[in-house]
Every structure is written in structure tokens, then in C-alpha cells.
Symmetry: none
Subunit: 211 residues, 4 copies
Amino acid sequence: MNELTEIDGRARRASERRESRRAYILDTALKVFARSGYHQTRISDIIEAAGIARGTFYLYFESKSAIFLELLDELVVELRKHIVGVEQGPGAAPVEVQLTTTVTRILETVESKRTLTTILMREAVGLDEVVDKKLQEFYGNLHGYIVLALVEGQNMGIVRALDTDIVASCILGTVKHVMERYATLDPGAAVDVERVGGALLDFNLRGVLQT
Amino acid sequence: MNELTEIDGRARRASERRESRRAYILDTALKVFARSGYHQTRISDIIEAAGIARGTFYLYFESKSAIFLELLDELVVELRKHIVGVEQGPGAAPVEVQLTTTVTRILETVESKRTLTTILMREAVGLDEVVDKKLQEFYGNLHGYIVLALVEGQNMGIVRALDTDIVASCILGTVKHVMERYATLDPGAAVDVERVGGALLDFNLRGVLQT
Amino acid sequence: MNELTEIDGRARRASERRESRRAYILDTALKVFARSGYHQTRISDIIEAAGIARGTFYLYFESKSAIFLELLDELVVELRKHIVGVEQGPGAAPVEVQLTTTVTRILETVESKRTLTTILMREAVGLDEVVDKKLQEFYGNLHGYIVLALVEGQNMGIVRALDTDIVASCILGTVKHVMERYATLDPGAAVDVERVGGALLDFNLRGVLQT
Amino acid sequence: MNELTEIDGRARRASERRESRRAYILDTALKVFARSGYHQTRISDIIEAAGIARGTFYLYFESKSAIFLELLDELVVELRKHIVGVEQGPGAAPVEVQLTTTVTRILETVESKRTLTTILMREAVGLDEVVDKKLQEFYGNLHGYIVLALVEGQNMGIVRALDTDIVASCILGTVKHVMERYATLDPGAAVDVERVGGALLDFNLRGVLQT
DNA sequence: TATGAATGAGGGTTCATTCAT
DNA sequence: TATGAATGAACCCTCATTCAT
């Protein structure tokens, strides 16, 4: 092992250490934000919970809003992952199946990241122009996906004649509110994703499918 | 006109003046909150917009959070007024009609109080325990009303077998999200309440009625 | 009764009314100051207790400190009245008798104006340069009187050789502290002026008289 | 020197630095309070005099009243130290000697901490319930000590028959007033502790001893 | 004279961020 | 990289006093 490799190794280990430290602070902040809300949370709360010094926080994150934004991004990315499945075109699965899958995945994500979702549901709006824009974009994308799926369904003769814009809002609304209700439950409470997801889907499909 | 009457007259005029002044400040605060959001709004912004002195504000309102809470209450009261129509019992109108009326009224309220609704939708959560509790209670009541209406509908054979709890969440979700979308539009933009309300209702009724 | 007399009568009645109103407010302020202390007392407390309007207060008194100063003056004048009896010269009563009379009178004043004295003892220092100067002057005068009396007593061969300055401070100190202790008792508690005054005098006379 | 020692060294130096900084602010505040009085002193005055930032003050002290209370405590502790010498029992020194020592020590403390005493004498009453209680307790303790000493003296046949309660008040009064007079002198003025203490003691002993 | 709404200077405290060590 | 003392802008609220009616 020559010197360069050694240096690379050192650098790599340092970088890994840095990443894990960063992740640890991020995770700690997540818990604190979820417990107290964005505005009630002070940097002091986070560094105290993480057991780090004041200055250390700023070595890893630019500001209070930056770390919050990052947590938000994380969830949005996570949720988006489970939604991109909605596709159109001849080879795609039928809307019904796509929706079923999507809804189940979303609820599973919510269930597994309840803390993050709580924040998204309770705090993410009205904080900051950047945050707001990001959320608008996220919901706008979702809305667009749903509209597309509905139009596609109509073309395929599965979905009835309806106002796609408003109905897309309705569907998004059902998902959001159900998410919100279950996200704000006690952390320990068990949620029957199957049952909730089933009822949610059933409701929405009845609203859109041909009779 | 004797002295007493005169005094009464003075007192009445004073009281009226006070009320109108209060209403004026409340209205000004509403606009400022709607424009900048609760946390971004400083008392200075409100008194500057209202053209009053610092102390004057505190002559009419106890604190920043108090005036905000009052605005919130105003909207909740307004919305509640249009919702108490949901009734059960032999003499009551059918669920379908009741829901139609309710939804139309809610959307009309939102349309006429768009600024207030914006605040409710964007800011009202996570500010304060008092505010939070008030909102929880409000939404809890709504949820309860909807569940009752569904059960009643089931008894009357109009509503299909469904998970009333989750479906109530779905319905509430559709209304909330549609409200939110239309409340956050440009203040000038016209909203076709008929069309939106019609589609919203149609969607929800299909979700709940017997096929 | 001619017109002028009538006008004089009116003016006199008006002036009397003004004086009695003033006295009433002064008395109310006294109680409030005694209850809450100078700094804790707000103009609002006084006008509320007196049942008058904000502006009315300023028709009778220039400011918060002005009304307080006036109350202080009242007590100082009252106390001074009972102290001017200390005289020197061939015809004057012996120091012993003069002191006895003075001390008894002071204690009686304190007893009858306990509220005022409480204020003097608890609040009068460090408020204001004017107040401070007034008090310094008052105590300075007292100190001077006592020194004179001691010197006179020495000339008459009644008072022993002593440091008149320091002993005068001692005497003043005994009176002040005893006043303070009895002034700050519950307003209802009875004080045996005879007994207290007797012991106080006895102590001081033993300190100064020839053995 | 190993790493741990080094860390300990750092921590110790940091702690020392913190303590000295704290002491410096405390001392600065003392001067400002003494110059302007509690109510006239603003936090701005203290931080300006200390040359520190606004927030720095709150890093070391909780509030304006907290720092004041601490100064007060300091003096009370100091004074108390010199008073606990009054003892009863067969082996104890005679009351006369104990009083002499005590009074001299108190006056020396006052002389060495004239600024603090000024505050105690001029400002400490009527500020705050906590402060008031503390002072009442302090003076109450002193009063108790003196009563005990008198009773003990009576048992030993040194002290004459007298009203111990009132005479204790007298003694306390002489000490307080003499303290006050010398504390409020110009800071530069020299005080002949011997002479003042001697006269004070002489006066009080004559008041209490058997003739 | 009486009223009480209006004023606005002023002060205490918080907390995100910086920086010397 | 890690620390935590220091910073100071920001902001809410109080209350003595004024003034139009």
C-alpha cells in the first residue's frame, strides 16, 4: 500500500465519518422538529439532543431552515419514488391497479416515516418561500399525474366522464387527509394499512370508474 | 332629550366607534397575515398598515396571537354555521340533499372569505396549543357530523356498506383540499362555485351511495 | 345677594369641590401606594381605585411622582410638627422631658398614619433626586435637632461626654427602626405606644445621660 | 502530560475564565446599580459599562432582577459571616466582648463594601417579593441573635432588666442607621471605624448593661 | 371639568449565527 | 474538525402622558 492509497483511505474514512455524523444530526433534528414543530424548535434543542456543540451544527448545515428543508426533501423524494409508477400508454397496467399500488405504497411510506410525514403535514406550509414552492411543485406534480391517469382511464373507457381537474383534487385530498390523520396518531399506535388503504381506494375508485 | 338619554347616546356612539375601530384593525391584520403569514408578520406591520400607534393595537387586542386566534375563530364560526344543517331523524332531509347544501355553502363561504381561508389552510397548524386544539376540535366535529350522516344514510338504505371512519376522512379530505386549492388562487381569479361544488359532490356521492 | 357675591359663592363652591376631589384622589393614591409600592403602582391602579377617568388624574396632579411626593411631604410635615418642640435655652424644658414628649408624639403619629409611614420607610429612597433630597433634608434636620439637644444637655450637665454626631445617629436609628417595625405590622394590629415609647426612651436616655 | 490532563486543563481554564468574566460583569453591575439605583438602571447601562454585547449578559445572568439579587446575597452573606459570632453558653465570651467584635466587624464590612451596602440601604426594599423576603429574614435573624444575646446577658447578670424585643430593635436600628450614614458618604471619604464603632458600642452597652 | 382613546418612547429578553481557540 | 462564548438584530409588550371631544 503506497502513500497515496493511504491518503485516499484516510480521506475516504474521513468522508464516511462526516457523512454518518451528518446523518446523525439530521435524524436527531427530525425527532426534535416532529416533537416541537419548526418554530418552537431552537438550534439549542437540536444540538442538545444530538450532544454536539453549537458551532458543530453549522459545520454540517447552513442554517435552521436548511436542515428543515433537507428533511422535507427527503420525504418528498421518498413519496415521489412510490408515485412515479403511474404511467400511461398501451403497455401500462390498468389505472385501477396502478392506483392501488400507488396508494398502498404511499401509506406504507407514511407508516414507515411517520415522523417526517407529521412534519410535512403540520409545519411545511408558510415557513419560507423556498419550502412553499417545493411543496407546491410536489403537489402540483401529483395533481398532474392523477389528471393524466384519469385522462388515460377515460381514453381506455374505464374512467367515467368527469371534471379531471377537480376530481384529481378530490383524490389528492382524500390521500392527504388520511395521511394526516394517521401520521398524527401516537407514534406507537398500530395502523392497519391494508384496511385503510383498501377503504381509501374503494372510495376513490367508485368516484372515478364507469358504473 | 334629557341628560340620561344624551349620556346613553354618547355611550352608544362610543361603543359603536370602538367596535368599528376594532373591526378595522382586525380586518387590516387579516390582510397582513394573509400576505406575509403569521410568523413573518410583526406587530409593526399591522400597526403600520392600520396607521395606528403601537399602544393602540394593545388597546383592542391582547397580543399578536390573540388577534390571530380571533380571526381564526371568525372563520370557524362562519364555516360551522353552514355545516350544522346535517341532521338525522325521520323529519330530516335526505343525506344527499343535506350534503349538497352543505358543500355549496362551504364553498361559498370560502369564496367570500378567501383571505381568511388562506390563513386557516396555510398557517393555522403548529402555531400554538390553543390554536391547534381549536382546529382539532373543529375538524373532529366535522368528522363526527359526516360519520353520523353516513350511518343515518345506511339506516335509510341510501348509503352503501363502508368503513364510515375512513370514508368520512376521505370526504373531509376532498373538501379541505378543494378549499385549499381555491383559497390560494389569486384574489382576483373567479371561481365557478357551481361547477366545483357539483363535481365535488358528484365524486363524494358516488363514493358513498348504493349502486 | 348681588351678582358678584353669587359668582363668588359659585367660585368658592367650585374651589371647595376641587379641593375635596383632590384630597379624595390623594387619599386613594395613598392606599394604593401603600398596598403595592411605588413602582408596582400604575396610574391605572389609582384611577381605577378612585373611579375617575385617566385624564382627570392629570387635572389634579402633574405626574405619578408628583402625587407621591405630595404624600411624602404630608408625612414629613406631620412628623416635623411633633419634633419642633426640641428647644434649647434657659427657659426650655429639660432634655429628658423634651425627648420623652417628642418620642411619644412621633410614635403616635406613626400609629395614626401607619399607611403613610409604611411608604416612607419602604419606598421613599432611591426613587428620584427630588424625593431623595427631601428625605436627606428631613433626616438631616432631625439629626441637627438631636445634636443640639445633646450639646445643650451637656452644657446643662445632664448629658455625659459623648460623640454627639454618632450618638445622634444612634438615637435617630433607634427611632427609625422601631417606627419601621411597627409601621409594617398588619394594619389591624394594636401597638402599645406607651410600652414601646417607654422602652425606646429608656434605652436612649441611658445611652446619653450622666451616670 | 497526557490527553486527559490536557482536556482537564482546558476545562479548568475555561471554567476559570467563565467565573472571572461573571465576576467582572457582577462587579460592573454593582457600580452601575450603586450609581443610578435599581429602577433607573437599564440592562443597556450595564452592558455598556461592561463593554459586552446584549446577549452576553444573559449568558451569565438570567435577568436584571437575578443579578441584583445575587449582589444582595453577596452582602448578606458577608455580613452574616461577621455576626454568627454571637454565642451563648458557659464557654462563650462575655456579651460585651462579643458585641464589640461583632460591631467592629460589621462596620469593617460596610467600609470595605460601601457600594454594596449603599444598595442594600437605598434600594433593596419594595423591589420584589423575593428580595423583600430575603431581607426580612436577614433582619429577623439579626433581631433574634440580639435577643438571644440579651437574654444570655441577663442570665449572667450583666444585662439589666429590659424589654428584649424593643431593645433589640433599638440596637439593630443604631447599627443600621450608622451603616447607612457611612455607606452613603462620598466613596473617597475616610471613615474612622475605631471611633464610630467605639461610640456606637458605648451607646448600646450603656443602654443594656447593669448600672 | 371630565373623559378615555390614542400615543410612542422605552426596556427586557430571545436566539440564529459567527468566530477565536 | 470541534467547541461554546460572544454577538446584536429583532421583537413583543407596558405604561406614563396627551389631547380631541
